[in-house]
């Protein structure tokens, strides 16, 4: 293992993050606060409790997931797209690092950043609503798994993208709808049985449901199913990345 190599990539990526610390935090925090004002306070007060949880508290896990997923993807896709774009990727390709080490560095850094942001949003939400976290350990584990899986997905996106438009299009067209329709703001059980079935094909449903279970002990699908789903997703992404490096796709001419 080239530990110095992993550390170098990780540190380099984190420096970028710290250089723009303010931007990195301020926009997700403001966006989340707005969600709380609109959905939690203004509309939420007219919505009845779901599974004995007030609507304001109910949307907390969904909101955290929404931000963490989009942040993980954008951090990590940008992290690998940028060297490709400015040409510094040559160094990575000529270095004695394996694909796994490169992924550890980039994805690790991206996941760390979004984990930070997730925790900041959790703290922000505590200013708006009262709630208790039933299983904090599981909650953190779930959060970390989600950060990692979507950072992996972002990494694939960053390698695939040929320009900035593509880099932004996929999160916008695919990920955002998946997250919104994944039960960030409602319980799947509130849908008609047809749409409930459709929703089960959306992987994000399992994430949000599992994450919400860590908070309130209630879920749309069982926690075991959720854990399997997120782990399976992570392994799939890893397999795709392994293939990318082996074949040199989009990287080596």
């Amino acid at each position: 293992m080239n530990y110095y190599g992993i550390k170098a990539i990780y540190k380099f990526e984190m420096t970028r993050f710290f250089r723009t610390l303010f931007q990195s935090f301020v926009s997700p925090v403001i966006a989340t606060s707005l969600y709380f004002v609109v959905f939690g306070a203004a509309i939420g007060s007219r919505i009845q409790e779901i599974d004995n949880v007030s609507y304001g508290a109910f949307i907390v896990p969904g909101l955290i997931m929404l931000t963490v997923i989009t942040q993980s993807i954008s951090n990590s896709s940008f992290g690998i797209f940028f060297p490709k774009f400015v040409g510094t990727i040559y160094e990575l390709l000529s270095a004695p690092v394996s694909f796994f080490e490169i992924v550890l560095g980039y994805v690790g850094a991206a996941a760390t950043k979004s984990l930070f942001i997730g925790l900041v949003i959790l703290s922000t939400s505590m200013l708006f609503v009262d709630f208790k976290i039933l299983y904090p350990g599981m909650m953190i584990l779930f959060l970390i798994l989600t950060c990692l899986s979507f950072a992996l997905l972002g990494f694939i996106l960053g390698i695939w993208a040929k320009n900035f438009e593509q880099l932004q299009l996929v999160p916008l067209l695919i990920v955002t709808p998946m997250v919104f329709l994944g039960g960030s703001f409602y319980s799947i059980s509130m849908l008609s049985s047809f749409w409930q079935t459709v929703s089960l094909f959306n992987p994000v449903v399992y994430l949000i449901s599992g994450f919400r279970w860590c908070f309130f002990g209630v879920a749309d699908v069982s926690i075991a199913t959720s854990l399997c789903a997120v782990s399976g997703f992570m392994i799939l992404c890893l397999a795709i990345i392994a293939w990318i490096f082996k074949s040199g796709w989009q990287l080596r001419t």
Partner: protein, 309 residues
């Protein structure tokens, strides 16, 4: 001395099918300075990228100090440093941080005093904490070199190190290459200029259209390149070569109405003066003079023809 880098039967086709390298064979000895000389699009950058692992190859085998660069890429790549033809650096990073990154990436433990030494040698020490974007083009090129040297490589590739560089920096660069060699580093560089190859290389490889046409000691190549011909057209045809000219490398043209003198510009004096005065003394009247230099192009052509023949 042992062979350090060996390339056997290397060929490369790009994804679009273009054959950029055609069966390259090359051996480079340790602490040698090799210049790859060739026109635009010859395949110099492709060859370097392939050795460094940036580009994949189609056939062949490359080993560095006995390590196969594919099977044993870690050991091989640790020894290689590469300065790309096109500058690409992280604009907003500081100079020292980019060096730390490069060093770490190549698996070396942190060593700021080594890196600062390196910056000192490249006259960049005062820019240590500057962002790359604040540097001039020449400074960026030096940062790029410092990055390539940050992990103490044993083989350094310089892809057109002096393109767009002023005379001063060019001289510095040559000096640096020699210093590196004295420290045991093997250097392979590409250039368009025969003068540059002449100034620093031990051996020169000529590459054109994906073929390595020859690799020769600098001296003998320069000799070939310095070859010129003087053609003296005469007023009246001659039966034989005048005996007074027999000491020179002169032949009578096929039309017997011209003399062809082959000489080398680099041998100091050409002897043209003497020949002309000898002719005048013998009463041979000439009506025109013409000189031809064998260019790199001529050498390419004659080499290609030799290969075909």
């Amino acid at each position: 001395m042992r062979d350090f880098l060996t390339i056997k039967g290397l060929s490369k086709n790009y994804a679009n099918g273009f054959e950029a390298l055609k069966t390259i064979n090359l051996r480079v000895k340790e602490t040698e300075i090799l210049a790859l000389l060739g026109p635009n699009g010859a395949g110099k950058t492709t060859l370097i990228s392939t050795i460094c692992g940036i580009s994949k190859f189609t056939h062949g085998k490359i080993t560095l100090a006995g390590h196969d660069i594919v099977l044993n890429y870690r050991a091989a790549r640790k020894m290689i440093g590469m300065v790309p033809q096109e500058l690409s650096l992280e604009s907003f990073e500081t100079v020292i941080n980019t060096l730390r990154f490069s060093r770490g990436l190549f698996g070396k433990s942190p060593n700021d005093s080594y890196l600062e030494d390196l910056l000192e040698q490249l006259s960049l020490l005062d820019k240590r904490n500057s962002q790359i974007i604040e540097l001039s083009g020449g400074m960026k090129r030096r940062v790029s070199i410092a990055k390539a040297l940050s992990h103490e490589p044993r083989l350094l590739f310089l892809d057109e190190p002096t393109a767009g560089v002023d005379v001063e920096l060019r001289k510095d660069m040559w000096l640096l290459v020699r210093r590196l060699r004295n420290k045991g580093v093997t250097v392979i560089l590409t250039t368009h200029y025969i003068e540059e190859a002449e100034a620093i290389a031990d051996r020169v490889g000529i590459i054109d259209k994906g073929q390595l046409l020859l690799v020769e000691e600098k001296g003998s190549l320069i000799q070939r390149l310095g070859q010129k011909q003087l053609i003296i057209e005469l007023q009246a045809p001659l039966k034989d070569l005048p005996s007074i000219l027999s000491d020179y490398d002169i032949v009578l043209g096929a039309d017997r109405q011209s003399l062809i003198y082959t000489y080398n510009m680099r041998s100091g004096h050409s002897g043209i003066n003497n020949i002309l005065s000898n002719l005048t003394q013998s009463g041979i009247i000439f009506k025109d003079l013409q000189t031809k230099q064998s260019s790199l192009e001529d050498i390419f052509m004659s080499l290609v023809n030799e290969k075909v023949a």
